[in-house]
Amino acid sequence: MSNENSGAVEKLSDPGLPEHVHRKTDVDPRAAKKAERQVAILFALSAIGTVLFIYSYIWIPEDTFIFLPITGTTNAHQLFLGLGLAMALFFIGMGAVHWAKTLMPDHEVVDYRKEQRSKDEDRAALVATVKEGAANAGLGRRPLIKRTMGVALGLVGLSPLLLLRDLGPLPGDELTKTNWKEGTRLVTDPGDRPIRPSDLEVGGVAQVQPAFPPGKVRHLDDIAKDSVLLVRLRPEEFNLDAERLSWTYEGIIAFSKICSHMGCAVALYEQTTKHLLCPCHQSTFDVTRAAKVIFGPAARPLPQLPITVDSEGYLVAQAPFNEAVGPSFWERDS
């Protein structure tokens, strides 16, 4: 059922531009006057809008609130300033458009297209000019000039990229290091209080940072790699191998809070399922199995921080993380 007559198809003949239909404003001078009044009213509304705008800016105090349906209670200064501006602009536009539609001539005009392609003689002339110019430059006969020019331009073009070197330091092995060392105390975030195991109830969580020595300031850079989540389960709920079990303490387990997928904070702990959920892309980690990924796009479990208690009974790290925290990168070897 397709294309059978395609060879013999001709268009029905073009009936040409349709007859012009006059608008009421073209034939009836009273209608035209009415349209003129309408345009004037629209422009006047715009002026009122500007007045409202100026009034709001100067005389409505910034801490007044007003209740309106749909928007609810909102700041009156903001609202009327904006409404005034909106009115002022909108009705100028409406006035201009209404004027064009009703009063300006609406006869369709025809203009003609030229072919985009230049005329043959123009193209020939261009080709001739270019050829002559190239011949005059003489690059064809003087390859030495061409080659050395290429080298010079290439060098000067690329070498300023060198100036970008100081945009930042080389990463080195920084991506694999955090501030956690053997013996670093776990402290609450915020508050910087050290934590005893008895502080955490079964089913409880704590947001934790490494303790900083007095004088050292914690920056966002540090938070971006040091953040740790402490979760307490009953020891029998763990499903870990001996080594990972030795990194826990009486049912308390610590994970890097920085998602192994793209670096959001994974702090959403579901007490009933023992799962951690990252709210960015819904990667789900099973705490009982050392934060193994059970759903979502994350490809690696969250690094586990080995913990124990120090002589005063506070929770400390046994050792730094055994792998880099956060999202993956080329040099990451696991």
Partner: protein, 530 residues
Amino acid sequence: MSARERLAGGTANFIDERTGAAKWMKKTLTKVFPDHWSFMLGEIVMYSFVILLLSGTFLTFWFDPSMKEVEYEGSYEPLSGVKMSAAYASTLNISFDVRGGLLMRQIHHWAALIFMAAMVIHMMRVFFTGAFRKPRELNWIIGVALLTLGIVEGFLGYSLPDDLLSGTGIRIAEAIIQAIPVVGSYLSYFLFGGAFPGEVFVQRIYAAHILLIPGIMLALITAHLMLVWYQKHTQYPGPGRTEKNVVGYPLMPVYMAKAGGFFFIVFGVTAFLGAVASINPIWIYGPYNPGQIGAGSQPDWYMGWLDGLVRLAPPIETHAFGYTISWNILIPGLIVPGIIFTLLAFYPFIEQWMTGDKREHHILDRPRNNPNRTAIGAMSLTFTLVALINGGNDLIATHFDLSINQIMWFSRIGIILLPPLAFVITKRICLSLQRADRELVLHGRETGRLVMLPHGEFIEVHEPLSPEKAYVLTQHEQNPPLAISSEDAQGVANPQGIKGRIRTRLSQAAQEQIAKPTTKEVLELEEGQH
């Protein structure tokens, strides 16, 4: 001569004596523009860009792009004394301590959302009507470049206040950069001046956001408009409209009034949104802290499809020889978008290759008359829509009492199955519409009036179409598919080989149409009785 005429004449003389502008001015003021509402979508984009420039400039007078830590001392009580970056504090300052500041911030952000939305709709209009065909392929490529730049510009823009929501987005962007093989960690350290988040990225994206990208966009927009100007705008098929003319209204006065008026209307509607609808309330989000996160964190809508793709990616990473490649980040974050935008940019040439049609086109296609292209468009939109919806899966889950796990699986399977389904359904619908058009031309419009003939038969009265309507329904071209033979008369195989065969198959699919009625058929019917 009145005083006004003398003043105008004097000014015109002054300019003309120095620039010779009179001839160009005359040509310009009488230039003809066709009038259709779908041609105004590009105008919405253009005017939104101007609004962004104006409101953005206002904001730069108060914004401080520094990431230095400060303690907040402004008038918003719930953040009093909280440590934050100067950028965040200055944004709070604009919102609460500069009169009209919050309004301008909101107008700027709403204008950005409308800018991107109008760009997408404009692109869809151009695509579905085939306006990208020769000689307008370059303009299409410029348009795709503007779309890409717009997405980046918007992302950088809402990340300037350094709040918790946008900071999370920057973290995710950094993870994508870091995941790039070989150079990822270096690129990340260079862009952020060290480890994430560092202290320089806000001022660097500020430079990109207020100078570099707007500069490039302005140049591209100028080129885009100049091309439209010189090539003259396309027009919909209709009586009196041919490939060799443009029918419409002259620039002065009608088009100036309508288009100029529309600028004020767009500005007015954007200002209205800025007045009545809250957008990006950064004071609720709090300053960025990499150890904090909020449930239901999404980027702005034009990045939402990227977020959706990242969410539904399977968790694949390869580790070999001490190196890691994160396919779960690279594929949805860089590779798939890269492929999509490349195909998008080169689509005019792909279509040319498929159909073999290398002529100029100035009359637009009705989408139903090119079922293949329309179906491809529907397919791409379905893909993007599934990704976009998945980007909001946690909000959809809480709102409609669903499970994020189920929505994720729906999206993972849907993004593979739904686009081809959309393709097939759209193509069949287009062909049906063509059939309906054919019936309309051959048999006229069914009026629903029943008439009993003298001998007892009931017939429905069909009203023949007006010549204008019949012309619109039949003026399109239906070209035969490419017939690339696999061998010539002497049995020599076609050197194009498999490429040629693929091309033939694609061309046949592309040219599948319902044959329009021939003039002969119509005339025969007109002579007969109904």
